[in-house]
Symmetry: C2
């Protein structure tokens, strides 16, 4: 325990008593507010130091009617993906004196309850679209806490932050079609998240624009298992595809792996692309063509947008879309040395 005279942690009263000053002055010294004499400042600092005084934030929060903390709700933390988001978020928040309370919903028994609880601890909440269903988000809105959505379609009155998906997917698909592929398969379930639905939308649009019927997607979860399975199954189809446009890198890598195991050449016999640019994408051979999202930046921006709402500095909702970057490698068969392209 922080050493009050007794075993309990020291309070502002203990510090005041030891410094022979009132708690008001102690508070002023510690917060750096209001005028204080040099002598008082020194006495308080010393007393606080000697007692190992750590102010109780709950008491301050109650008094100032503010938590100085943000809530962040993520679906999970597997992969580098959400880690980067969180890192960007925490960095910005930390620099602006806000603590970050994190809640992970995937596998959680009662997300609704835990998110409501979160709302009582923070000044505002950032929710990743994959973390909560719509009704829970609406529930959360009713609490009145400022809310910022990440990778979620805009909702009226809410800020949102996401990275561009449809245009990059269209661009990527065009590239493959230009290169001569005639039977692309989109791998991943568009219903699994907003981002994936946008990626499929771009894929479909590229087809539609050249008068082709957009092929039905292969509706599988975005996991390595599905990727491996698709990689195996795909050859045995009546009309086997000559390209796999995968909804993320896990799918793509696992598919490539299983194709290689069967002796199918990538990119010669079939091309493969992913999404996210995980580390493995640049270490496999052939290198995986993929799309990089600015996750850290996304986190930073979400934190900033939320803070603007919390402080009341901005009241109109904003919907930000960040550019992604197409990363061309050998798996798509069209890469030129030094090739790369940004979107939007």
């Amino acid at each position: 325990m922080a050493s009050g005279t007794s075993g309990r942690p020291a309070t502002i009263y203990d510090v005041a008593a030891r410094a022979k000053l009132s708690i008001a002055t102690v508070s002023r010294v510690l917060q750096g507010t209001g005028p204080v004499s040099e002598k008082a400042r020194a006495r308080v600092d010393q007393a606080a130091q000697e007692l190992n005084y750590v102010p109780l934030r709950a008491a301050r929060s109650l008094a100032v009617q503010r938590h100085e903390a943000h809530g962040l709700v993520l679906p999970d933390l597997a992969g580098p993906f959400y880690g980067d988001l969180l890192m960007g978020y925490e960095r910005w928040a930390g620099e602006h004196g806000q603590s970050v309370v994190i809640t992970v919903t995937h596998g959680h028994p009662d997300p609704r309850r835990s998110v409501r609880d979160l709302a009582g601890r923070v000044d505002g909440i950032v929710v990743h679209g994959n973390a909560l269903d719509l009704s829970t988000i609406q529930d959360l809105r009713k609490t009145g806490a400022p809310l910022v959505l990440v990778a979620h379609p805009p909702m009226t009155g809410c800020d949102s932050v996401r990275s561009e998906s449809a245009a990059s997917a269209e661009q990527l698909t065009n590239r493959l079609l230009d290169h001569g592929q005639t039977n692309l398969l989109f791998v991943g379930d568009p219903a699994s998240s907003y981002d994936v639905s946008e990626r499929y939308a771009g894929f479909a649009r590229a087809h539609a624009r050249r008068g082709l019927a957009p092929p039905e997607p292969e509706r599988v979860p975005l996991t390595e298992e599905s990727g491996a399975e698709v990689g195996e199954r795909v050859l045995r189809a009546t009309n086997p595809p000559d390209g796999l446009v995968c909804a993320n890198d896990e799918l793509a890598l696992a598919a490539m792996n299983s194709l290689a195991a069967q002796g199918i050449g990538v990119p010669d016999e079939i091309v493969v692309t992913g999404w996210d640019d995980v580390m493995a994408a640049r270490y496999v051979s052939p290198g995986l063509t993929t799309v990089r999202q600015p996750m850290i930046e996304l986190g930073r921006l979400a934190a900033q947008r939320l803070h603007e709402r919390v402080t009341g500095e901005r009241t109109r909702a904003r919907n930000d879309v960040l550019a992604t970057q197409l990363v061309l490698r050998d798996s798509c068969g069209t890469a030129q040395p030094g090739d790369a392209a940004g979107t939007e």
Copy 2:
């Protein structure tokens, strides 16, 4: 704002007024404590619902003298590594009604200050050894908050949780020496973290046990850049190594990559091993031999150990060491199909 009659969020008083009961009863209903009539319960539930009442945690914390929150201090969140730790942590904490407040120190202007601030918000703190220097940790101890160290050498009075390193490193090194390598190089700076120093210690011990002088480590940061650089430099040495024992997978992957670029065969001309078993390790070819740490489990356990201290359920310090798993793949030249080994 949650709809009180005015614009401000509803408080327990608003709920009480609407339910025509005292705040004491409202509190009892909401917390499920003490005896309450069915009728009262119903009235309170309805009023709370109508007002969108969310209890202010700061007020509860103040009253119950507990935050019901844990602090988690991590160096950063790059790679899957800390993400998994955090995920395991959050899962356990969530299941036991504890929120988690996270602080990332890498790149932080004043970790000391932010960690002290954290101490005022939570009931106890888990610190990853790479996140804070010793003096800051000791500073933190003085606050009296329960403290659990992850991947840090045990300190008297503190709990600690880490995964086994030295023995697995020794085992791995032995395997390479048995296989006929005669000039292994340890890549990575043992001074960069406790874990790495242990890995080098195991590496050195394997040599010592057979009467060999342990080679000096190649003291470089644990980054892809260093790995690439070492991969290039290593051949030009007077006495080029026939094996690289890398302190983590990033180093190993980058080294393998640069060796391949130079036409050096792995594992035939030189063997390579890593540490952590990141996703890329199983997608490169040859597959990277590495050591898997139970990060999720480590997180869970840290949360549990901290909670035991917070509740006072345990007062004696514990130092847990979790077993790692050697993952044999082709990069070390010694893998047999289905080969694998656990340690400790």
